[in-house]
């Protein structure tokens, strides 16, 4: 289900815009991983925002933020990817992405530049990466100085919460 939607979203994105923007990525760091989201899926990048926690929601849902009157769910990518929690002193940034008609915030450690990967082919994600990471990665692009993991925003925000079960569905 999610595969189909994200695949069609990808085609729509590349079909709707020129090939150039399709290869531009807004980059950020989560723990020691270097991620990129296609620029046309990103609405904006924000500093840390006051957040209202949602009791009983999946652990990855950090809270709700008020984005100019719109209520936006914040998903912590560290939790989503099964990475260790952020150090107490580290304040996360919000990468606001559009996914299936909704706006969702991804909490990341640090924001990088927008980079153009034209000429560097995408490769499938290495099979020895942890499952949680592979699940949300559309492919990798080995840049000269780093390996860019292309994030599938639709899947990254796919945190369904079922109450009273043993944790959410990753």
């Amino acid at each position: 289900m999610s595969t189909m939607t994200s695949a069609s979203a990808a085609t729509a994105a590349s079909g709707g815009t020129s090939a150039r923007t399709a290869e531009q990525y807004c980059t950020f760091r989560v723990a020691d991983l270097f991620f990129g989201v296609a620029v046309d899926e990103v609405q904006e990048v924000l500093r840390h925002q006051p957040m209202t926690p949602v009791p009983r929601a999946d652990r990855a849902v950090t809270g709700l933020i008020n984005l100019r009157g719109q209520i936006v769910t914040a998903v912590d990518l560290r939790v989503r990817l099964g990475l260790p929690d952020r150090d107490a002193g580290l304040v996360p940034m919000n990468v606001i992405v559009r996914s299936r008609g909704e706006v969702v915030s991804l909490l990341v450690d640090d924001i990088g530049d927008v980079i153009d990967t034209a000429g560097i082919d995408a490769q499938p994600a290495p099979s020895n990466m942890p499952r949680e990471v592979q699940d949300v990665v559309r492919g990798v692009r080995p840049l000269p100085d780093a390996i860019l993991l292309v994030l599938d925003a639709d899947r990254a925000v796919d945190v369904t919460t079922t109450p009273d079960t043993n944790g959410g569905t990753p």
């Binding site: 009983r56 709700l64 009157g69 925000v157």
Partner: protein
């Protein structure tokens, strides 16, 4: 190209409207097959679509409507007679036209092979060439050999020739078609020429409608509602600030803003109101198709189609209502022979009624069918494991009927493709409850069933009680609020007990299950000296929610929450508070379900029964700009209005000369610790209170903003909000209202009562 897109968009909007009308007309036509007026109307609609589709080069649409039009023109001119097969074929044509329009909407062209026009065209042509239809020579030439070989290409060749001529004509500037006599492919204007008298009359009426209204994009309206929501929030924020401000001008301005914003909000919400008839317009067709399919005879009666409710709600109730109507036909109304045997007329009646009642829209779906047999419902529910025998034995008739809304329940002996898959009624209920409505069923075996759906007028902005828990704020819709109870010390120990770990509250002799909000939110149960309980009601579930703090009541703007949180039943949405932070809105039914609180055994009538003896008449007042307070009506001697100029001072006290005496005045708002807003106009409203004695001696005038109402209610006062001048609060007319401590207020006047 952009012009084209615009023309196509207009064409689509217009055609969809026309098609809805067409459905109604066709169903009506079957009843009175000789109504030339209806036929002309149908003919015009199809003709218009055909004309425009030719102009826009939608060839398949044109081909289809052309055949339909030919058949219709025969009917109109009396060359053919309306028969069920013809009606069926015309309805099929309408469906296909609709499908093609959808395709056009998506792809801007009508060539999608998923929609097949050939079979419909073939059927229509077969009907055209049917000798029994008294076909004239022209019919023979149009249909020719097509009936034997229903294929697209011959149909194409047979239908296009008459159209060849207008299509190129349309490519020439628009003035030209006006000179073309019979079938100019231009839209609405031309139809007047095609169909003589009724069209002209119709044209006049339509213009009147056009003049008085403007078509507005729904997205724009939604944006407006959002913006007004923002404005309301900002106003709340500003008001909060201005209450503590010394800047008089600022206070005045923000009060004006308050008024304007409220009125604006009301007006904008009104723009989204639409008559429920819009949803109903599809039902005659549904009923017609189903009754044919099921072999029932049904008369559909609709009453109150002008009843308005919010667009978003209309959309949400469409499917549940359709489902309930289907259910009535499938399970309610019997086949004619069964009805006759039961001594009823062979034709069943299905009536839909919509009306406003206490701030809600009620939709009744009533049939005179076989009714629901509660014993049978009970038996099935037991068999399917929906309830246990023990639970069943404790249920009354209404609750047993309510079982049909439980998941996994279906009484249909055979699963039909209309309803009875056991996924129906529970989905209906879930969908209606999701929008804050409720549904209940009453039924009499052999006489029929009435399903009542209650829907709030609007969803977007609701009054709510804001409570605090774990440092966060949560909003509880006031629609669910029954009363507030605060227990301290001895009362707490006496009235709250643990039954096998389940806390219950003795409330006026009844046991009320308690749910701790902290626990429901996944924390521990706080161990406190005092307990604040919000008594909540959602359908037949009543329970007390223990909370840490009560903040206040306010109008909140309901905003949806993301997909990630949809699985959490305890939240109905979220809102933005005056300080810009997000607060979650609690879903009362969801909390009850999560906490495992079931239906309360006591029937809802008991509230009325017990209250009969302790009802009090209250005068409900507005003070401090929108806050509510209440006085016992017995304490009120008269209501007076004085010019502000008449207020004089005597020492520290404000007084007026009244009935040859001096009436000391007390500003109620000030007396109960609220900002005074009573003399915004030249007049002040005064409640005259005379403590027992005759004459004005000892009388006190209590200055208020305005009198709202006199109500007779059972006051279940709570200690919440207790302060100087206020004994506590109660929910009166769904609003939290301060109960005025008259003695304390009078004492402030300096008059010795």
């Amino acid at each position: 190209m952009d012009d084209d897109a615009e023309i196509i968009a207009e064409f689509l909007v217009e055609s969809h409207e026309n098609l809805d009308q067409l459905d109604r007309d066709l169903v009506e036509l079957e009843r009175q097959p000789d109504s030339r007026e209806r036929l002309s109307s149908i003919f015009r609609t199809i003709h218009t679509i055909k004309g425009t589709s030719g102009f826009l080069a939608f060839n398949r649409l044109e081909q289809l409507t052309h055949v339909g039009e030919t058949l219709l023109s025969r009917l109109r001119d009396g060359e053919a007679v309306m028969t069920p097969p013809i009606a069926e074929a015309l309805l099929a044509m309408v469906d296909t036209v609709r499908a093609l329009l959808d395709v056009i909407e998506r792809t801007s062209s009508d060539v999608d092979p998923a929609v097949d026009v050939a079979p419909v065209v073939a059927v229509l042509e077969a009907l055209l060439s049917d000798p029994s239809a008294d076909s004239s020579a022209s019919g023979g030439t149009t249909a020719g050999g097509v009936a034997e070989e229903p294929d697209v290409s011959p149909a194409d060749s047979s239908t296009t020739p008459p159209e060849r001529f207008p299509v190129p004509a349309a490519e020439v500037p628009v003035e030209v078609p006006v000179e073309v006599p019979v079938e100019p492919p231009v839209g609405v204007r031309m139809e007047a020429e095609a169909a003589p008298e009724p069209a002209q009359w119709d044209g006049v009426e339509r213009r009147a409608v056009v003049d008085s209204s403007v078509r507005v994009d729904v997205d724009l309206l939604d944006d407006l509602v959002d913006l007004v929501g923002e404005l309301v929030l900002t106003r709340n924020q500003l008001l909060q600030r201005s209450l503590t401000s010394d800047d008089f001008e600022l206070v005045r301005a923000s009060q004006r803003l308050d008024l304007v914003a409220s009125e604006l909000q009301e007006s904008v919400m009104k723009t989204r109101m639409q008559p429920i008839g819009q949803v109903w317009s599809k039902l005659p067709r549904v009923v017609r198709d189903l009754s044919h399919q099921l072999g029932r005879e049904v008369e559909l009666v609709m009453d109150g189609h002008e009843t308005e409710l919010d667009r978003s709600l209309l959309e949400a109730v469409k499917d549940p209502l359709t489902h309930l109507v289907r259910n009535s036909l499938d399970h309610g109304i019997e086949p004619p022979e069964v009805r006759v045997a039961a001594g009823k007329p062979p034709k069943g009646t299905l009536s839909l009624r919509a009306y406003h009642e206490s701030g809600q829209v009620v939709v009744e779906i009533a049939d005179d069918g076989k009714g629901i047999d509660a014993d049978r419902v009970a038996a099935v529910a037991l068999e399917r494991g929906v309830v246990t025998r023990d639970q069943l034995s404790r249920m009354d008739g209404r609750e047993v009927l309510g079982l049909i809304f439980r998941p996994g329940f279906s009484t249909a002996a055979a699963v039909s493709n209309i309803s009875g898959r056991g996924v129906g009624m529970d989905v209906v209920r879930t969908n209606i409850e999701r929008i804050g409505g409720s549904v209940d069923v009453t039924s009499e075996v052999g006489r029929g069933t009435v399903t009542r759906v209650r829907i709030p007028l609007t969803l977007a902005i609701i009054p709510a009680l804001v409570v605090g828990e774990g440092g966060e704020r949560y909003a509880i819709p006031q629609a669910n609020l029954v009363e507030l109870v605060r227990l301290e010390g001895d009362d707490l120990r006496r009235q709250v007990e643990d039954l096998a770990g389940a806390p219950v509250l003795r409330l006026r002799g009844k046991l009320l299950p308690l749910v701790s909000l902290a626990e429901a939110l996944g924390g521990g149960r706080p161990d406190e000296e005092a307990l604040t309980v919000v008594v909540l009601q959602s359908d037949d579930v009543r329970f007390g929610l223990c909370i840490s703090e009560v903040h206040d009541t306010q109008e909140i703007v309901v905003k949806p929450i993301g997909r990630q949180l949809k699985g959490l039943a305890m939240y109905a949405g979220a809102t933005i508070m005056g300080d810009g932070r997000v607060a979650l809105i609690l879903d009362v039914a969801g909390i009850a379900a999560t906490a495992g609180v079931g239906a309360v055994q006591a029937d809802p009538a008991d509230l009325r029964v017990t209250s009969a003896d302790d009802r009090t008449a209250l005068l409900v007042l507005e003070v401090a700009d929108g806050r509510r307070a209440a006085l016992p009506l017995a304490a009120v001697a008269r209501l007076e209005e004085f010019d502000r100029d008449r207020i004089e001072r005597s020492g520290m006290t404000e007084v007026v000369q009244y009935r040859d005496g001096i009436l000391p005045l007390v500003r109620l708002a000030t007396a109960i610790g609220l900002p005074d807003t009573s003399d915004r106009t030249g007049q002040v409203s005064v409640v005259v209170h005379e403590p027992g004695s005759v004459g004005a001696v000892g009388a006190v005038g209590i200055v208020i903003d305005q009198v709202l109402d006199v109500v007779e209610v059972a006051v279940s006062a709570s200690q919440v909000g207790r302060r100087t001048g206020v004994t506590g609060s109660a929910v009166v007319q769904d609003r939290v209202t301060d109960l005025v401590d008259l003695d304390a207020v009078v004492a402030r006047s300096g008059a010795t009562a």
